[in-house]
Symmetry: C2
Subunit: 305 residues, 2 copies
């Protein structure tokens, strides 16, 4: 495969960066992959896992002379990093990020990017509930979507090359306005995560049902919530703080609708419930048809030994 | 393996009954398995799938001379069936059910069961989002829990034999009071299902985000909700109508907690969010340790082709 960037720098070495590293290694998209993380232990681990070629002791050294810099840290950490590395970026380099929120990342990062360096924000919609450098695998992005939200005056060539890069990692790429991205993700990701966290918290809190009961009898629906609610706490704190308006809007719609269904239960309106549940079933069908999930029952998860 | 019941009758031939049939065949727990469903097509299909030995044209014929009768129909259909079959049950037979709600099933079924027939209500906590006679498989109950809620004056031998039967199907069995069962399940299953249905409905309803966007970008959390929300609409309508009080109580606690987290987002209280998310993560760990889920990332679901 063609080399798209001579030197790629991964800043933050968690699930997404380690998966990108493994995928680049597999496909030969870069000649050199440099990694940096705040923690020395994480840096050493990443080098020994082999998804980076080099690590550096300072973040400045990691980005100098790099052709593609990927900010792969929680959204709340991006501003400080952009401020430090901005002056060190090579003329003509591209800088991107993988944050789950786009407008606030643009607001925080763009002011620190010098003229002549191309900032193309991005968000790969891929992940698992696990985190850290050992959690990555090369196929994470395969057949998943990556949304790019380039700014109005963005260099066309830089943005097209980044698209090509994500496609080479296995993803489908779509361009979108940052604000619209944040609304779409509030629906498909941010609100569902907050809801799952909440339900798991309620179960934990409830005096009348023991923890042991919740845990043993979780197979009936609850355990899917616990998977979602096991995601990285720092990352998610930053998502909610940085996509505040859209998340609160969707949660408002959600509680409105939930109250309506609660009322149907209270009034014993079986027709309303049936009709609602029948409609949501059709949506599942569309997701399977779109190739974003498998038809295997229970995610193909067999009995647990 | 020992034959525990000479003749077993499955009434309703969906996911649970077909899985019970396959599991009984595999383990030789019954000499004869009789099946009945309202729909002729379902009966014929079940016979050709081989998880029943016989089908009958009437429900009365299905239960006559049977040693174990399993009501495996939506909760709302149980009263009418109990009324019809009650007078036909053999003295000394055991009748059980697999409904997700227990107190209202007891209220509806018990009055129709004659003296000398042993009614032992049950609920296997196992299932997938699929339904119908083709969806069953013999390992569905393996290492899952089955809760039995025998009435106060229940025949001890009948209840012990049913426990032994479920253990032979692979399940762990726990006895519980019906009312407590309904509260526990409201937490671990009923409330999570209503919440998932609601969120999927909201996404579908939202004019500003297109259906295509919701579907394509579902991988980021939402698709787990769609799986839950794809479950059988009739079954779930009946669950909510018949476990009204406990479900509404838990949903009340849920919205209280959700409002508190929404308020933290609005106020920008990152510490509260982080602490909450960190706590819920620990619960996930306990569920994996209890053997009720696997540690495989994303349920071991690889990329979707």
């Amino acid at each position: 495969m063609t080399v798209l960037y001579d030197k790629v720098t991964l800043i933050g070495l968690g699930l997404i960066a380690s998966s990108m590293g493994h995928a680049m290694k597999k496909s030969g998209l870069a000649n050199t992959i440099v990694g940096f993380s705040q923690t020395k232990e994480t840096r050493d681990m990443s080098l020994s896992l082999g998804f980076v070629d080099e690590i550096t002791d300072t973040i400045e050294d990691a980005v100098s002379d790099s052709d593609l810099i990927v900010l792969s840290v929680p959204v709340g950490a991006m501003a400080a990093i952009a401020k430090i590395i901005g002056p060190k970026l090579k003329l003509g380099a591209t800088i991107t990020d993988v944050g789950s929120v786009k407008q606030s990342v643009i607001d925080m990062v763009a002011p620190h990017i010098p003229n002549g360096v191309h900032f193309v924000p991005g968000h790969p919609l891929a992940g698992t509930e696990q985190s850290g450098p050992t959690s990555g695998f090369p196929d994470l992005f395969k057949n998943r979507w990556c949304i790019l939200t380039p700014l109005k005056n963005c260099n066309k060539e830089a943005s097209a090359r980044l698209k090509q890069y994500w496609e080479a990692l296995g993803a489908n790429v779509e361009y979108m306005e940052a604000e619209h991205h944040d609304l779409v993700l509030a629906v498909t990701s941010h609100a569902p995560h907050l809801i799952a966290y909440t339900m798991v918290g309620v179960a934990d809190d409830l005096g009348r049902v023991t923890d042991k009961e919740v845990i043993n009898f979780s197979a009936a629906g609850f355990r899917d919530f616990t998977r979602i609610a096991a995601s990285d706490p720092t990352m998610w704190r930053d998502v909610f703080l940085n996509n505040r308006e859209a998340t609160l809007e969707i949660l408002g719609r959600f509680t409105e609708e939930l109250f309506d269904l609660q009322r149907a239960i209270r009034r014993g309106d079986g027709d309303q419930l049936f009709e609602y549940f029948n409609r949501t079933r059709a949506i599942r069908r569309s997701i399977i048809d779109a190739g974003q999930d498998t038809e295997a029952a229970n995610f193909g998860r067999g009995s647990v030994e």
